[in-house]
């Protein structure tokens, strides 16, 4: 078999070479969050290797020279949109990045600051927390995942994300490929680890079966039931209804089940629909 070759014109050839030679540029940004995802990225064991392989244009936790107005190949964004300022910054980051990676529970699921989503009028919620005081820097708005405002190309979940996955994401980009999304639950890795099932044996309200894998069942390995920080399994395979039924059989109340599933899943479009199947129409 003969290989088909394409002749590249001389002038274009040089341009391509330059493009290949250039290190990819990345930026690490934060909206409203605890900065934990940035801290995690900054402290991965291979950070020196990463710093050698890419040009870090911005990294808010590490450098005051960071700017969201610089163009980058890949933007890593942590935090939820919780203020008007967050939103403006997010739009600017999106505008200046070729690829945008949502990082962590706040960016992807709205974070714990979204726990109340759908339950309370935002104005009342704000007053509950801040009373009559005003926030000067920017106008506060209801905390939402960044996906509600911009296109997110890849999702790096976790609270914070796992080192293994941070390196996997950057490595696949450097390889010219892309990171594969996990759409199976924590249970898989939990059984691999040889853990006992806290849901079956200890009747603990473990959310492992509806939560995206990738943490190697970190909490359950320490006998702590999964709280769902990595977010519901994507592609509509988080079965809130089936798990809620199991919880009911174990004696948990509707209120408790809804609250627990909402900690990191309040923005999931199917959550209420599936819970309604189990608990009926009106929320209690």
């Amino acid at each position: 078999m003969t290989m088909k070759t394409t002749i590249i014109p001389e002038d274009q050839k040089i341009e391509i070479k330059e493009e290949i030679k250039r290190k990819p540029t990345i930026g690490v940004y934060a909206l409203t969050s605890c900065y934990g995802c940035q801290l995690k990225i900054a402290t991965v064991s291979k950070i020196i290797e990463i710093a050698d392989s890419v040009d870090i244009e911005s990294f808010y936790m590490l450098s005051s020279a960071s700017s969201m107005h610089k163009k980058v190949d890949i933007a890593f964004v942590e935090g939820s949109v919780s203020t008007k300022k967050d939103l403006e910054e997010l739009l600017e980051i999106r505008k200046n990045s070729k690829t945008l990676v949502g990082v962590g529970a706040c960016a992807l699921q709205g974070g714990v600051q979204s726990w109340n989503h759908g339950d309370k009028n935002y104005k009342d919620l704000f007053e509950n927390v801040y009373g009559k005081s005003k926030i000067e820097i920017s106008e506060a708005i209801e905390a939402k995942p960044i996906e509600e405002y911009v296109k997110v190309d890849f999702r790096l979940p976790g609270c914070p994300p796992e080192e293994e996955e941070i390196i996997y994401f950057i490595s696949t980009f450097l390889f010219g490929s892309w990171p594969e999304e996990k759409d199976y639950p924590v249970c898989q890795e939990c059984r691999f680890a040889g853990n006992i099932c806290l849901l079956i044996e200890k009747n603990e309200p473990c959310l492992g079966s509806i939560t995206t894998a990738g943490c190697n069942a970190r909490c359950i390995s320490y006998n702590v039931p999964c709280i769902g920080c990595r977010g519901p399994v994507p592609n509509d395979v988080a079965w809130f209804d089936s798990l809620a039924k199991v919880f009911v059989e174990k004696g948990f109340t509707e209120e408790y089940i809804r609250e627990r599933m909402k900690i990191f899943g309040s923005h999931h479009p199917k959550l209420e629909e599936l819970l309604t199947k189990v608990f009926g129409g009106e929320k209690k």
């Binding site: 490595s171 390889f175 759409d183 898989q188 059984r191 079966s209």
Partner: protein
């Protein structure tokens, strides 16, 4: 067949002697309800449980690990480098394997050795030592109707309980060598022992909650494809967690993934256990999914375990009861099969 008898008080010495043949793994209690095959050091031989019900993780993991590096690659040099670990690792000595699990390993062999030989699996399996042990069923067991409650082969040694010890059947050359090297541990098998073995069999067969033979499930499922009530009703309960397939002693599906390194050139290719209960299992290029719904994925497992086997003389299900025992949603596979069979 060669038979010797090991008295109960000699079990500890026997386990210690096994340490000479490789890395010893045996069932221990890991929680109130669960047992698991774990690595046993000399200090831990007392923890080995001889009358456990079933292990959390199936024996296949010692020969077909959950995650395994197949090779590393260099995309610039266009070269790949085989992972030699399976060929150089210590042999696994797996003690206390139930008959159903031994049949399970034979089913694994049919796909990983007989069909398309897998060098890694074969290397581990060939040097591995399997020591079976007799057991009594609980309400989850139905190995009898799967013809997996007794094995004639597939082990190096098999311990069958008698009143004051175990009658050991020798099933391979490796088994003979172990017995020869530890000859002083054993006594002659007596007429009383032989009577005990029969009595054990009778007792065991009376303990099963189902009887007969379930091979006809193949016809029921394949010729009478519609059991919509069961598929719908039961898959509604399903969490899609994959516990049933991960704990199954005969699930063989795996996924292959590439993990590049930060140099942008090299990386590793890994195979990792997959589950037909996961969405991605049926997903192919172009976005088509052969099993797009939870119901279709749920049904697939029942079909695979009962009707898809073409290589060995039993179904892919050996009746170990794990998929019911370890199902967080309480889906009763055994009961569902009874229902599919029309209540018998």
């Amino acid at each position: 067949m060669r038979y010797v008898k090991l008295k109960k008080e000699k079990i500890k010495e026997f386990l210690l002697a096994l340490q000479d043949y490789g890395e010893l793994y045996a069932p221990i209690k890991v929680s109130e309800k669960y047992f698991d095959f774990r690595k046993i050091t000399n200090e831990q031989v007392d923890e080995v449980v001889l009358d456990y019900n079933r292990t959390l993780r199936p024996p296949r993991r010692f020969f077909f690990p959950e995650k395994e590096v197949l090779f590393t690659f260099n995309s610039k040099k266009v070269e790949m480098y085989e992972n030699k670990e399976a060929f150089t690792s210590e042999p696994v000595v797996l003690f206390g394997v139930h008959a159903c699990d031994i049949v399970g390993l034979r089913i694994m062999d049919s796909r990983f050795i007989d069909d398309q030989p897998d060098p890694y699996y074969r290397a581990r399996r060939e040097k591995g030592i399997i020591i079976g042990i007799s057991c009594l069923p609980d309400e989850y067991c139905f190995c009898n109707v799967r013809r997996a409650e007794f094995v004639d082969s597939g082990f190096d040694l098999f311990l069958s309980e008698v009143e004051d010890g175990y009658v050991i059947r020798v099933g391979s050359v490796k088994g003979h060598k172990i017995i020869d090297a530890t000859e002083n541990l054993y006594v002659e098998v007596t007429k009383k022992d032989s009577d005990d073995l029969t009595a054990f069999d009778v007792k065991k067969s009376k303990m099963f909650t189902v009887s007969g033979n379930w091979d006809s499930l193949r016809y029921t499922l394949e010729l009478n494809d519609e059991h919509p009530v069961i598929w719908m009703r039961e898959s509604e309960k399903c969490l899609g967690c994959g516990n049933c397939t991960i704990t199954c002693p005969t699930c063989r599906c795996y996924d292959v993934k590439d993990y590049p390194n930060l140099d942008g050139e090299t990386g590793v290719r890994v195979r990792i256990w997959d589950s037909c209960q996961f969405r991605e299992h049926g997903l192919v290029a172009g976005g088509h999914n052969f099993r797009p719904t939870k119901e279709s994925r749920f049904k697939n497992r029942y079909m695979c375990k009962n009707a898809y086997c073409k290589e060995v003389t039993t179904a892919y299900c050996v009746g170990c009861g794990r998929c019911t025992y370890f199902c967080p949603a309480g889906i009763n596979y055994k009961q569902n099969l009874i229902e599919i069979r029309g209540g018998i």
